[in-house]
């Protein structure tokens, strides 16, 4: 988890060199058996919550994320409404049972920050100016966390928004790359994220070829950073194909056939 990241990093400064070797073995295989440029197994499902206007569920490795979307509807409280566009109210929330040590269900500093960056990653994709004075609510529940939940949250939220019938310029898909065990690797999991050297989450709109979120945590050289961004965008494109399938398959199973 990013929240716990600062501390273990300082304490583990000495351990880094030792553990780094372990993160990726000589053959280039990672702790969970993946190659450096491999994603975790992903499963996506759309329209899982009948009571929400739109919803989606995602599993990426050991991450389990559920997103519900409402709106656009009247903004409450009234003062948050904007006269010229809709607002997205985004809540990223980790369930108390989502991590090893029980997490307080109250929104933490990290939860609030992630809610903001996820909102800002989604905003460019939605036609907010079509629905002034309204709000679109996005609730992201992390049921189980294993690193890279902000990215997985964005990917799932984009699916839920599309499922709600909210007009979008493009889907948003997010994936992280980083440096673990001295090598640039795709889609870091929790241990790699905590012990590793750096993490670069990227959110991307594939058809418009535009980046909506780019963060970096840790240390990378310029070359390493460029490689990581390229790798993350590559991962996004792979995830996009799965996202596409997930969105279409809900309706194909409901009887709409592609002709």
């Amino acid at each position: 988890m990013k929240a716990n990241k600062k501390k273990p990093k300082k304490e583990g400064e000495k351990m880094t060199s030792k553990k780094s070797e372990k993160l990726i073995d000589k053959k280039g295989i990672r702790l969970d058996g993946r190659k450096v440029d491999e994603l975790r197994p992903v499963k996506m499902e759309v329209g899982v919550l009948p009571n929400a206007d739109g919803s989606a569920y995602l599993e990426q490795g050991r991450n389990k994320i559920l997103v519900g979307v409402y709106g656009p509807k009247e903004a409450h409280p009234r003062h948050i409404a904007q006269q010229d566009r809709a607002v997205i109210q985004c809540r990223y929330h980790m369930a108390p049972f989502s991590v090893d040590e029980r997490k307080s269900p109250a929104p933490s500093r990290r939860d609030i920050e992630l809610s903001k960056v996820i909102r800002e990653a989604l905003e460019p994709a939605v036609f907010l100016e079509y629905y002034p004075r309204t709000s679109i609510q996005v609730y992201i529940e992390i049921l189980q966390a294993d690193g890279g939940t902000r990215c997985a949250g964005i990917t799932t939220a984009a699916l839920a928004l599309a499922d709600a019938g909210i007009p979008m310029r493009d889907l948003v898909v997010a994936c992280a790359a980083g440096k673990a065990g001295g090598k640039i690797a795709l889609d870091l999991m929790d241990t790699e994220d905590k012990v590793g050297e750096a993490d670069v989450p990227v959110a991307f709109m594939p058809n418009l070829n535009a980046v909506t979120l780019l963060q970096m945590d840790g240390n990378l050289s310029v070359d390493e950073f460029n490689t990581a961004v390229d790798m993350a965008i590559g991962g996004c494109k792979k995830l996009y194909e799965i996202q596409k399938e997930a969105l279409k398959s809900k309706y194909v199973s409901e009887g709409v056939k592609e002709e």
């Binding site: 002034p132 594939p206 058809n207 279409k248």
Partner: protein
């Protein structure tokens, strides 16, 4: 000027539909001469117009639309009505009450109370202000009986059919009265619960199979079959 998808193909937001001299229709948008889908749905071309029949959307009021709404609040000057649009609609008491309306003497809840369902017409809406409704036309006003069915607003044109062929058929075959709200609510009132049940089944079938052709005939067949099955019992 290429088109990238066949008619009735399933597309998702962001899919490039057409390039060049085309006009962007429902659930699409145009930038730099390129037309993209902005909702999940089925592509359709209509001359130069490219549009997507969204599989799910919400209702955007258009002046002149007939809608079915739920009264959520009475205020001194009128009512607030939920028409399943992004904004709550307003119905002014002075438009409803005959002759002179005085907020202090007129008992508004005795006309429409919270929880009542009403049929109304949208008279004004421009996104900067809440939609205005009116009930000053025959056939509008409080709903006294019947059953409500909710469908996605984008499927309403299919339920109506070409020049009302589909609703006309359902009315004839089931003997039910159908009031179709453009906001996706359909009121069905028949002589018996059985008539209403068959009409609801027909609507559900249309919603499910709205993309197929020859649907009117299929629905007619289904209704007749259903009727026979009941009669033989």
């Amino acid at each position: 000027m290429p088109l990238f998808y066949e008619k009735k193909q399933l597309v998702i937001p962001g899919d490039l539909l057409a390039e060049g001299d085309y006009v962007s229709g429902d659930s699409t948008y145009k930038t730099d001469g390129k037309i993209y889908a902005c909702r999940l749905g089925l592509v359709d071309y209509d001359g130069k117009r490219v549009h997507v029949v969204a599989l799910k959307a919400f209702y955007i009021p258009v002046p002149g639309d007939l809608v079915i709404g739920n009264v959520v609040e009475t205020t001194p000057g009128g009512w607030v009505i939920d028409i399943k649009a992004p904004h709550l609609a307003r119905l002014r008491a002075s438009d409803v009450v005959e002759r002179s309306f005085k907020p202090e003497t007129t008992d508004l809840p005795s006309i429409f109370d919270v929880g009542d369902l009403i049929i109304a017409k949208v008279v004004a809406y421009d996104r900067t202000r809440d939609p205005q409704l009116s009930v000053r036309e025959p056939g509008l006003g409080k709903i006294m009986r019947g059953q409500l069915v909710e469908v996605t607003p984008t499927k309403i044109p299919r339920i109506i059919g070409r020049q009302g062929s589909m609703v006309g058929m359902i009315k004839r075959e089931t003997g039910c009265q159908l009031t179709i709200g453009q906001n996706g609510l359909v009121l069905i009132s028949g002589r018996s619960a059985e008539d209403e049940r068959v009409a609801i089944m027909a609507l559900r079938k249309i919603e499910r199979e709205s993309h197929t052709s020859g649907l009117t005939d299929k629905v007619t067949e289904m209704i007749r079959k259903e009727r026979k099955a009941v009669e033989s019992k």
